[in-house]
Amino acid sequence: MDNNHKVIEVTDLTKKFGNFTAVSQITFDVNEGEIFGFLGANGAGKTTAMKMLTGLLSPTSGKAKVAGFDVYKQSEQIKKHIGYMSQKFSLYEDLTIVENISFYAGIYGLTDEQISEKTNFLLKKLDLEKSRNELIKSLPLGWKQKLAFSVAIIHDPGIVFLDEPTGGVDPITRRQFWNLIYEASENKKTIFVTTHYMDEAEYCDRISIMVDGKIEALDSPVNLKEKYYCKSINEVFIHLARKNKNQ
């Protein structure tokens, strides 16, 4: 892995809503092929930061480049070069599996030929060939999540943003989902992921922990545990988030 190739570069990125500073001067880089965990308490500013990085929200100040594109001037280019999946918005429930795949592939500008090729490839890979014409709403949540992830990278982006991708599934399905993440990372895709499951934070190459709009800690899980004398990332997280709360 080429550790020096940075696909996300953020310097002093800030977003204010009126008098409220949601994200305050955050600075970090993410390397190609890295699994980067973006943690924080509810309301810490994760979603706002993620919206800026995915070109959905213009920052108040600071700099950020994603896939080599500037978040102020090239947000449309960013959208073409990233994948995005969230638990809240992913697939259309009233469309079939095949319709969802074609729809997203079409949006990302794939040709008819590419779409049919991709569709067959995905159905086979996810073992969904038999269910190809079933409505999304009839599928178990675990299948939906795997499909949503595959659809999010249908245009072969270098970076994928995953916003709490594994909420609510059983522990086995959750782990199978992480196998997809590992596999994508092996294929040099960069993964930027948020989660409330602290055991999943341990699966990341590096994690950042946001508290009140700032990045309080950023390192590999092993180093963070050493630094704060904690046995798990859960303890590190509670230590950092609580310390701040009690101030």
Partner: protein, 307 residues
């Protein structure tokens, strides 16, 4: 005394069976947890227990009363906090609480003592609209609203889903204090680490209960030898073990890998030797005690393998 008695409870939506022949009891003052993923049937069960949905067959009694026939009585004695908190987003914090109190012919003042512990944390924001609150604050308000009529049974449907680790911890501390006041609590969660905080838990998957026991009882029912493998090359090792002919299960588990084997005679040395033979030298293997999550995964796996 049994606060909840459920026998053979079944609910179908068309052809789909949401819950199938469930039976269990909950004792007075107990904190009882339903652990299972989305779609397991937790919400359907809770809606039947709170008299909001009719079962197809089977019976459910709460406080000795039938959930179908005695729904009017029961609604006065059950507090229900649905998932996605049923708050009125355009009403203020105080208006929401006052509204729920008035529905049950009571006032905030009358039962303030009961909600004080929780409500006082959001009282400084009582003039703020519920829609403007953070997730953690909405959760506290919803709990206050579910408690304001002094229920004997509190039913909480995934109160901590999507809530961060700190707020989750605080929420369970609140539940513990409510339990100490004698309120019986039924709670559902997809988080395994919350299971150990319950007096007893039921694992639920695909509409069926896989096991009911105390957390310690659940763990002691696990008979397999469980190994923890630590390595810097986690994904590699998982891939190697996935195709190992003696593998029973292999799962990433926080900073390590949890592995079970089909052989009775398995030990750490055998595993280390095997991993060495595949070129993995930077790993350590140790036999460990299982946790709740190991047991649940094993039960799910038995269920799917048997299909």
């Amino acid at each position: 005394m049994k606060v909840v008695e459920v026998r053979g409870l079944t609910k179908k939506y068309g052809k789909k069976t949401a819950i199938s022949n469930l039976s269990f009891e909950v004792n007075e003052g107990e904190l009882f947890g339903f652990i299972g993923p989305d779609g397991a049937g937790k919400t359907t069960l809770f809606r039947i227990l709170t008299t909001l949905l009719l079962p197809n067959s089977g019976s459910a009694k709460i406080l000795g009363k039938d959930v179908v026939k005695d729904y009017k009585y029961l609604r006065n004695h059950i507090g229900y906090m649905p998932g996605r908190f049923s708050l009125y987003m355009d009403l203020t914090v105080e208006e929401n609480l006052r509204f729920f109190a008035s529905i049950f012919n009571t006032t905030i003042e009358e039962n303030y003592q009961l909600v004080k512990d929780i409500y006082s944390q959001i009282e400084p924001f009582k003039k703020r609209r519920a829609g403007q609150l953070s997730g953690g604050m909405k959760q506290k308000l919803a709990l206050s609203c579910a408690l304001i009529h002094k229920p004997r049974l509190l039913v909480l449907d995934e109160p901590t889903t999507g809530v961060d680790a700190v707020s989750r911890k605080e929420f369970w501390e609140m539940l513990k204090r409510l339990k100490e006041q004698g309120i019986t609590i039924i709670v559902s969660t997809p988080y395994m680490d919350e299971a150990v905080l319950c007096d007893r838990i039921a694992f639920i998957q695909n509409g069926s209960i896989l096991d009911i026991n105390t957390p310690a009882g659940i763990i002691s029912g696990y008979k397999k030898k469980l190994f923890s493998i630590e390595t810097m090359r986690k994904y590699n090792v998982i891939k190697i073990l996935e195709t190992y002919e003696y593998k029973d299960s292999v799962f990433p588990f926080g900073d390590s890998i949890h592995y079970t084997d089909k052989r009775e005679s398995i030990n750490s040395e055998i595993l280390i030797d095997y991993l060495h033979s595949t070129g993995i030298n930077d790993c350590s293997v140790s036999e460990i005690e299982s946790g709740i999550e190991d047991v649940f995964m094993s039960l799910i796996k038995e269920g799917t393998d048997g299909q």
